[in-house]
Amino acid sequence: MSSLKRAKGARTQSLFTKGALLTAALVLAPLGAFAQATAAPAKPAQSTSSATPAAKGERWLHVRVICNDAKGETVRVNVPLELAEKVLPAVNHDRLHDGKVKIDSAHVEDVDLRVLMDAIRTARDGEYVTVQGNENDVRVAKESNHLIIHVVDKGKGGSKNSQVEIKVPMKVIDALLSAGKDELDLVAALHALGAQGDTELVSVKDRENTVKVWLDSKNVSD
């Protein structure tokens, strides 16, 4: 009877031992897998150039510069407007403080930008400036609440040297000028920009570079 009990006890003990070892192994296994998974990104992830829709409501400002030289350098910068809005006030350098940049009144040559922009805002859509010369064509217009500036540098030969197109929503300009005198409120402008739909803001094409600045809801440039 006692030998039966001893045998039963030994079997229970052996079972417990095996169970404990198995539990330890099972518990440790995911740790190893986790360590491997953590180590996995060691290889640099390749560029994800496929357009990914950003989270709902996210607005991204994209800048793309393509050099037309032999090396074909391309620069792509994608900035979430929300990030820029939050980070910009933290930059205090030179003329930039609290998200506002000081403008040197000497550089605007006594032109009251605020009054000028107010005049444009209240005016009807139309062309304000049209200059057609041998070297340059300049067009400044207001169309569907956007200020449009179009400059074509024809160069001396008359062939198209460079072309600049700027299209800025009036609300963004208003926000930009909403700070005190001699100041541009960049954060307010970014905030106003965020409320706009997908739009191309700046396009510059010349012999050396192609620059494009635009706004959309994708978190990668095309």
């Binding site: 031992t17 404990a20 391309t74 620069v75 994608n78 929300e82 990030l83």
Partner: protein
């Protein structure tokens, strides 16, 4: 045998806890490869949780000095990291030409910087939470904090 089992369980448990704590913030990965005569090849793999712990061991006066030097950039860095955490998978900067590639992006909550040139490759991967911890510690160590 019973004793061995108990020891295995104890060790296993301790290892799990230590492992979970060490890896819960991921790893910092640094890879530098210089493809030239005598060029160095550095491949470093450090559990991110170790960094804030190590900072506690750094003599206070060294941290104060570092914080003093970085004082101008700390609010910007703090704001930037805080915002970057909201964008765990995004490409921010990419520069390419025929023989170079530079990329700054976030990937799975980590800041990833890759520089590939003909004569060297540098890859850096740091969890944003680790950068946040380091910045916070430096801010706390700044004189007058």
């Amino acid at each position: 045998m019973m004793l061995v089992a108990k020891a295995a369980l104890g060790m296993g448990g301790a290892l799990v806890l230590a492992g979970a704590y060490t890896f819960h913030e991921g790893v910092i990965r640094v890879d530098v490869d210089e493809y030239c005569a005598g060029g160095s090849h550095i491949h470093m793999w450090v559990p991110a949780a170790v960094v804030p712990m190590t900072l506690h061991l750094v003599p206070k006066h060294h941290l104060r000095e570092a914080a003093e030097r970085a004082r101008e950039f700390l609010p910007l860095t703090h704001a930037l990291i805080k915002e970057l955490k909201k964008f765990p998978d995004a490409d921010f900067v990419e520069v390419t030409d025929d023989d170079q590639h530079v990329q700054i992006r976030t990937h799975a909550g980590k800041l990833q910087i890759d520089v590939e040139e003909p004569d060297q490759n540098v890859h850096l991967l740091v969890p944003l939470s680790t950068l946040d911890d380091v910045t916070s510690q430096l801010e706390l160590s700044a004189p007058g904090a």
